[in-house]
């Protein structure tokens, strides 16, 4: 009897010791847009490498960059690439690893919910307050055969800083020079005064659009999809009207011009099937991590995430990274030491 107890205790102690010795904690912080993907990946990655425990705090891209710069986390995550000044302020060279990509759907609330076609210029003019009625000739020209009501358009935008706003304003800036000059792009911008409403979070935007007849807004594809809100087909740079979907976002990613440092914008990408309001989100890591052991584990995880992990994230309406991009990212990850 005594023997059994001893051996059980010994075994338990041994197990505990093993767990202690093997588990390495890697921490990250940043974008809320990536959070659902990370949660799913961490769960699955436990089976791939039980020896690492990754924690992620979705405190927002700004906080992620701040924590990475002060080296309180091993990796950051951001919905917008870091600016040169911010990178120069960091104590080491930071690499951008695109980790997920997603589309932003243009949602609206019209009587009888007709399916609409829109283009970037019209959308920019709606948000600039130049197009104020749904039966405006510009909208009618894009939607032959649809009876549009004589109803005021109420544009709704995100009140909180968000990557979704970044992608949306990046797109409007790229297709409309007046927008680029007067508003510009950012996770928060100075929205044209006196036009429409703003709400906190995608759920807030969707809520306001649902409540206000004539409302138009934008939200991550997954959100619009799951909540059954009508969304528009957007005219892409080839002149085709494309519905937002993981495939059409992947198509944009495949044709977007991606420089070697991966700080790119993929809005209005060329290609027949590319959805124009698309964007990526990045994991930010030091090329020479402070802690080599944790750095190695992190690199292994990222290699897995940009390849095998993509199958999982596409279940959450993120667009999978195309093969060519995956290969390029793996090469970049090799340089982390």
């Amino acid at each position: 009897m005594k023997k059994i107890i001893l051996s059980v205790l010994g075994g338990a102690a041994l197990l505990a010791a093993q767990a202690n010795a093997a588990t390495i904690n890697v921490t990250g912080a940043g974008s809320t847009f990536d959070y659902p993907a990370f949660t799913k990946w961490f769960e699955a990655y436990k089976k791939v490498d039980p020896g690492v425990e990754i924690n992620y705090q979705s405190i927002g891209s700004g906080g992620g960059i701040k924590n990475l710069t002060s080296q309180t986390v091993d990796f950051g995550a951001s919905d917008a690439p870091m600016k040169d000044e911010a990178m120069a302020a960091a104590p080491g060279k930071i690499l951008h690893i695109p980790i997920v990509a997603g589309g932003v759907a243009v949602i609206y609330n019209l009587p009888d919910s007709p399916k609409l076609n829109l283009d970037g210029d019209t959308l920019a003019n709606i948000y600039l307050g130049n197009i104020t009625k749904w039966n405006d000739p510009k909208i009618a020209a894009l939607n032959p055969g649809v009876s549009l009501p004589d109803l005021a358009i109420v544009p709704v935008h995100r009140a909180d800083g968000s990557g979704t706003s970044f992608i949306f304003t990046d797109y409007l800036s790229s297709v409309n020079p007046a927008w680029a000059d007067s508003v510009g792009k950012g996770s928060s911008v100075k929205w044209p005064a006196g036009i429409g409403l703003a709400a906190k979070g995608s759920e807030g935007v969707a809520g306001q659009v649902k409540q206000v007849s004539g409302g138009i807004g934008y939200a991550e594809l997954a959100y619009a999809d799951q909540n059954k809100i009508p969304f528009a087909n957007m005219k892409n740079s080839s002149g085709n009207f494309i519905s937002p979907a993981p495939d059409s976002v992947s198509a944009a990613l495949a044709t977007a011009k991606i420089p070697d440092d991966f700080r790119f914008s993929m809005v209005n990408a060329p290609g027949d099937k590319a959805y124009p309001i698309s964007g990526a989100s990045w994991v930010l890591v030091y090329q020479h991590p402070k802690n080599a052991e944790r750095g190695q584990k992190l690199v292994a995880f990222l290699k897995w995430a940009v390849t095998d992990g993509q199958k999982l994230s596409s279940q959450l309406d993120y667009a999978p990274l195309p093969d060519e991009v995956q290969q390029r990212e793996l090469k970049l990850l090799e340089t982390i030491k």
């Binding site: 927002g60 600016k83 009140a159 928060s188 929205w191 409403l197 709400a199």
Partner: protein, 315 residues
């Protein structure tokens, strides 16, 4: 504590300790506020340096070009709180009067319970209810009615989407009614019965008793209850941001969307990158603290002028 008690240190040690303990606690509150002020000041020093006093009068809020101004947010905070007070104060004080002076005993307890229940509703829940129930109702029923009856005032003109300053004021009113009611009730209860009996003895009617003997006597305390409510109104964040429309603008119409100091901090801080942007948000916090202090001082002055020195809620 006087000298006599100090001499007999033995048995009175507890008294002394108690006095010091409470003093420390009271000072801790003061220290906490000072510390918060200092931290906000430190966090906002970049923005303070760059914009100076101009920050308070500028209406620009442009994170892309790093230009910041607080005026629309100050306006939104003050106006939404003012609307809330206009709605909440009469309701709360009337409720408190009914509960202490008029209500039959069997009604009293359930009513009090309901009011306290209202205080327990988390603000985010109230906000959701605001988006999906209150705002559509206001948009369809109340606002058109206001437009037809009071539409000659610029306050009730212009386009109306339901998400506006007035909706924010109404939802804040709902949130501060419980606190003003509860505190007012306690204050009215503390009005000595002798006061009422004396008025009755002079042949006063029930209304006169309430007005002269109770309300007038408790004026200062009731004012304090309102100030407590106001403090909550100025800082209310979640529910407000969900119904106010979040547009930094200064417009006459109460049907137009607005934005408050607390809301913009909560909304934008997460994704605020760079140095100046978060610093400007910190400064908004400092401004909010300043607005609260100024409003409180103003209220105290108002109280002194109107209540006069003669009325003191003491025996």
């Amino acid at each position: 504590m006087n000298g006599k008690a100090q001499k007999n240190a033995g048995p009175h040690f507890g008294d002394g300790a108690f006095k010091w303990l409470t003093l420390i606690m009271a000072l801790a509150v003061f220290a906490l506020i000072a510390l918060i002020g200092y931290e906000l000041f430190r966090g906002s020093h970049l923005a303070l340096q760059k914009f100076g006093w101009h920050f308070l009068v500028s209406s620009d809020w442009d994170p892309v070009n790093d230009v910041y101004g607080a005026l629309p947010f100050i306006f939104g905070t003050v106006v939404s709180s003012a609307i809330a007070l206009v709605i909440a104060v009469p309701i709360s004080i009337a409720t408190a009067v009914y509960l202490t002076e008029l209500a039959p005993l069997q009604v009293r307890q359930p009513l009090i319970m309901f009011i306290e229940l209202l205080a327990a509703v988390p603000s985010v829940i109230l906000g959701l209810w605001g988006i999906f129930v209150m705002v559509p109702w206001l948009h369809i029923h109340l606002f058109p009615a206001l437009r037809t009856t009071l539409g000659f005032l610029p306050l009730f003109q212009g386009p109306d989407y339901g998400f506006c300053m007035l909706s924010a004021g109404i939802i804040v009113a709902i949130m501060i009614i419980p606190i003003i009611t509860s505190v007012s009730r306690e204050i009215l209860r503390s009005v000595p019965g002798l006061q009422r009996e004396a008025a009755y003895a002079l042949g006063a009617t029930r209304w006169e008793v309430t007005r002269i003997a109770v309300l007038s006597y408790a004026k200062k305390g009731l004012f304090g209850a309102v100030i407590l409510g106001l403090g909550r109104a100025l800082g209310e964040t979640m529910a407000v941001t969900m119904v106010i429309g979040n547009m930094p603008q200064i417009v006459k119409s109460l049907f137009a969307p607005g934005y408050t100091l607390a809301s913009v901090i909560a909304n934008e801080f997460n994704e605020a990158t760079g140095d100046l942007y978060p610093s400007a948000l910190f400064e908004l916090g400092l401004v909010l603290l300043g607005v609260t202090v100024i409003v409180n001082i103003f209220a105290q002055l108002l109280l002194k002028t109107f209540a006069g020195p003669s009325v003191k809620p003491q025996h």
